[in-house]
Each structure stands twice: as structure tokens, then as C-alpha cells.
Symmetry: C2
Subunit: 355 residues, 2 copies
Amino acid sequence: MAQSVSLKMLATHLGLTVSTVSRALNGYTDISPATRERVKRAADELGYRANQNARRLSIGTPETICYLMPRYASSGTQPFVAQLLQGLGEALSKRNWDLLVSHAGTSKDELAQIDRLVRSGRIGGLVISRPLKNDPRIRLIQDLKCPFVVHGRTAACDDYAWYDIDSARAFVDAVDHLVGLGHSRIAFVGAPLQYQFAQDRLNGYQTGLKGNGLPGDPDLVQIAEFSDEGGEVATNSLLDLPEPPTAIVCVSDAMAFGALAAVRARGLMPGKEISVIGYDGLSFGAHANPPLTTMAQPQAHAGRRLGDMLLSIIDGEDPKKHQELQRAHLLRRQSDGPLQHVVDREKRSIREEHQ
Amino acid sequence: MAQSVSLKMLATHLGLTVSTVSRALNGYTDISPATRERVKRAADELGYRANQNARRLSIGTPETICYLMPRYASSGTQPFVAQLLQGLGEALSKRNWDLLVSHAGTSKDELAQIDRLVRSGRIGGLVISRPLKNDPRIRLIQDLKCPFVVHGRTAACDDYAWYDIDSARAFVDAVDHLVGLGHSRIAFVGAPLQYQFAQDRLNGYQTGLKGNGLPGDPDLVQIAEFSDEGGEVATNSLLDLPEPPTAIVCVSDAMAFGALAAVRARGLMPGKEISVIGYDGLSFGAHANPPLTTMAQPQAHAGRRLGDMLLSIIDGEDPKKHQELQRAHLLRRQSDGPLQHVVDREKRSIREEHQ
DNA sequence: CTGAAAGCGCTTACAG
DNA sequence: CTGAAAGCGCTTACAG
């Protein structure tokens, strides 16, 4: 590895002392403009870069924040990660902070890792995604008194900083939209409720039903694994009901893809016989069969905001002042449509043909 | 931020000197087993973690590697990034190294950033993805004498470490497969050739043609922007040809999604009238219309191997000994099929109906 | 087996 | 305006 020039080398090269050179480089005003220029030029020429480990040890801050990768990111269903990292990087680069990423195996590992991470002075802040309703990571980070910001929310989210999409509201909108299309038997395909986002979306669905004077039928709420396969399983349960739904709202685009597959497998056409709405706004949804109608959100925004918020908090601002709720909006493609008044019997016969 | 206990605090707490405590913790053998145990227990109880900035400054290595995010990752078409990071993280965690990610705006920024990164002693190694044929980053990193490993290859890839999929071979296989289905008019939808992977895949396509005694028709090679829109544009050009292809191989799944859309827009069914094969093996391809046949590859593998290789090189091993070529395999879904012997006129009339 | 000391490469009061 | 010195929190020869 190319041993880069040290401050001492630069100083002797200039016939100055390290303290003068250091202050010149760091823009101290008590340095003569002439030497300041001379020092900067020499630094450029020699390609001097302050050793960050030394610098950070000296100034007492790691100038680094860490993004804790969602544990299930490995399943490849986390297309938002690259964008989020991009946004975080943008926010941090303004102040030359570094972005670390950290994965963990089990939940216990994760807590131990967080503990190690902050106690070892490597990081000055943390960002975590998709918290549980009652997320042990958050209590730990609070105990550690490490600045942090949450991408999403927990059940009790009053006393820390977060950025979230108002997904409850989004599901109200989705239900309203479907009711507007004539649907009344609307189902919900959800993810395990220990995730707060899963609970929020279910709440929104239920609020939407109530707001339209629709009864809630427990059979129409199907919770499954948070993946396309899960969406398929849940949707199959719905379609097996004596009185199946005419519309389905799904907790994510991935689950909606599974729902589309299940509907098609019965010889029904999503967007015709059954409406399916996803949540996420993945660009890929445009290529689904049929193109997926979904609740889209400003993805690129999230990382940048999260980064800015975290930096402010590290600067001493009150975390409670950094709680930001964004809206999702309906991105209509082709998987939703008006209620079709078909006799049940007819639908069944079509279905049987394809089995 | 919770000021974690320092070595000095731990030492005074134990009535020992920092040097003894440090060596006990680092497993030196010249420490009595009794005190070693005592020290370790106390460290656990007090939650001591060595300050990494101090430690790394002292031992002279940053114990950190950096992944340079592909610049176009922002477009959201980089689903492999999360998996790659996961794999890298796994490899690094075995030795407690950290994983930094770095983005850059323009190409110039990127070079400056790399320079800063390695000169500032923040990182002990670099991994870069998808190099250009002649990638200026690689020359720079070599000049800097920073250990590195490439995810992909450049045109001249003899003197550094890399991990790549044999995509030339994959395209030979794809062409062979299509020829086996009766196709002879096979087109190529490609990405800009400054990317080496784009050139490799074109080469494979051409080799495949030659191997089957098929003439190469320049009209059948369409290069476009590396995205689904690009794939659509390229495919439209192909379908506008006086004698359109009966099969298309695409340089990526994203481009193939665009190709499927273009084919469907003409009222033709991919997998029937025209075969389309992608490359990547994205799980999402199963939800395309129709499900996309593709050349799949062991994605989870890449990050782990890259991380292991880089660590070995940092340990002093010869980079040239770490060049790994993996094979892709055909993942058949439903966008390919046997050549249909339809009269051209007939095809055209179907097409016109749908315009 | 343990301690005293130097050093990693910076920054920053403190003198002058 | 510049220099000499202490300190950030570790590790690691070197003594004893």
C-alpha cells in the first residue's frame, strides 16, 4: 500500500512545524495567508491526505455512521437498499462522513453487534430500517446514548427521530379507490404483525373499510411470509373462500406479485375479475402480468432525509423535532379495475376449466 | 454518546497497567492464565471495547474495505448490490473488518474519491463492480498500490484479482439453446460497449452464431441504454426490420423486460412467435409476462468470494492467483420456445391489427 | 509474568 | 503569526 505522505513529511518538506501545517490546512485564521497558500499548494502536489484514524482519534468523533442492513435483505427482495444507501451517502458526503454497513445473522447477534459497534467508537450514529413494533435494537441504542434515526416507526415512536411513509393513510386511499370502482369485498394480504409497518397497513385497511361503511370480515385478512411466495399462499386462501374477494390490497409489491400469480393460476385476470393493488412502487412492477397498480413513494428521498436528520441530531438537535411522515400516492397501472358483475357460478366454471 | 470504558479505566479498575490488560485481552501468552481470565471477565462486565480508531492507528491497518457503488445504481436497476454487500459483510465479519460503501457522482469525482479514500488511510482494500473495458479506476488503484479485487473484468485482466461470470460462455449456451429450438435468425440486445461485460456478451453471441454455422447480420445487433427502456427501444428496432428475428438474447434481465414489452406491444407473444432470453437470473423474472427465461448465476456467492479473495491479497497473496470464473446456467421459464413456422405475411397482419 | 515507555499521526490549547 | 508540547486510546518492543 502506498504510504501516503504524513503531516510530518509535509512539514519538513516545507521547513515548517506540523502544528503550523495542520492549522493552515484546517483553515485556522491565525496563519499568514502566504504560508497558508504555500502549505495548501504543497499538500496538493504531494497528494497529502490526513490519516483519518489519527484525525478522528484526535478530534474524538468517528465521522462515520452505520446502516444496519435489514436481516432479510439476503432474500433479494430489498430493492430499496441500494437507493437508501445512495441517499445516505449523498447526505454524508457533504461533510465527508463515512458510511459503514453492517449485517447480522440472528437477532441476538444483531444486538451484540450494535453494542460492539458503538462501544468501539467506530460510529457516531446509526440508521435502522423496518423496526418491529417493539424493537429491542432501539432500546439498546437509546441506552447506549448513540444518536440514531429510524427508517420506519415502532409502536411508541414519540421520543426518537424517524422518517416514514404514512402507509396507514396509503391503505385508506387504496381501499377508497377500490370502493370507488365498485368493490366492497376487499381483502388484505399482509406480513407478520410483529413488524410495525405490517400493523400500520392493516390498520389503514381497516380504517378504510370502516370509513366506507364496510364490515370487516376476518376471513379477508390473510397474513403470510413477507415474500412473493407468501403473497401467493395468502391469495390462494382468499380464493378458496366460499365467497372470495373481488379486490385485494397487498402489503408490498413482492407479495402482490405472488397474488397476481395466484389469481392467474385460477384462470382469472387481475384487473378484470379481481383487482390487486401493491405497495412500494417498484419500477419493476411495470413489467408484471398485468402491470401492477401500487402505492408509490419517493424512494430516493428517504436516504437523503435520513442522513440529514442524523447529522442534525449528532450536532445536538432534538431528535423529537425530526419526525417526518411522507405520503404515498396511487400509481395506477393495470391490475385494478371496476367490479365485474359476474354470477358466482360462472366464475367458478372458468376456474374449474383451468385446474 | 455513552463514553465507553477505556483501557486505562479498565486497568485501574483491576489494579493493573494498560499494557498488561491490553496483552491479556489480545491473547498474548506471556500473561498468567489467572490474570488473563480476571481481565477478560472484567472487560465483559464493564462492556469494554477497544476504541477502533486508536487500535487501528496503532497497528497501522484500517481493518476496513470499501465497496465502490456502481454509479448507475441510483436507477434502481441494481438488485445485486444488496446481495453483494451481504456476501462481502459475511466474509469480512470473520476477521472483524468493516465494510464501507462509497458513491460518486461523475467519473472524475470517482477517481478523486478513490484517491482520497486510500491516501487517507481509511481503507485496506477496495472492491469495484462492472468495470469498463479500460477502466481508469483500476490504473489509479494500482498506482496507489492499494489491494483490490474486481467484480467483473476489464479487457486486460491478467495482473489483478477478479471474480466474474463467464458471460461469453453463457451467451454461447443461450444461442445453442435457441438453435436447438430451431431458431436461426437470432438477435442481440446489448448495452454500450465501453462496459467490458457488454463486449463479452456480444462476443459470446457471435461465437455462438459461428459455432452453429450461422451468418452474423449486423442489423440483428442492437445496442441501447442499459435499462428496460433501452431494451424496449432496441427491440422495436429489431421488430421494424424487413426480416425480424425469431429470437432475441438480451444482455440483462432488465433489458429483456423491455424486450418483452416491445414484443407484446406488437401483439406477438414472447415464447411463441418470438423467443426472448435474459441474463442475470433475477428472481423477479418469474413474475414477468411471460416469466422470463434467463441465464442465472450464483449471486450470493459473489460477495463472499470477493471478500475472501481481497482478504487473502491483503495478507500478501498474489492477486493473479485469485481469478475466478463462474458459470451461468440456463433457467428456463416461459419466454423461449420452438421456432414457429408462420408465413411472414400472417405475422404482419396480426401485427397490424394491434397497431 | 508485569510494568514503564515509546509510538501510531493527527489536533489544539498554550507560549512567545 | 509560528513553535513546542500534550493528548486522543490504543499496541508492542524492551526491561526487569
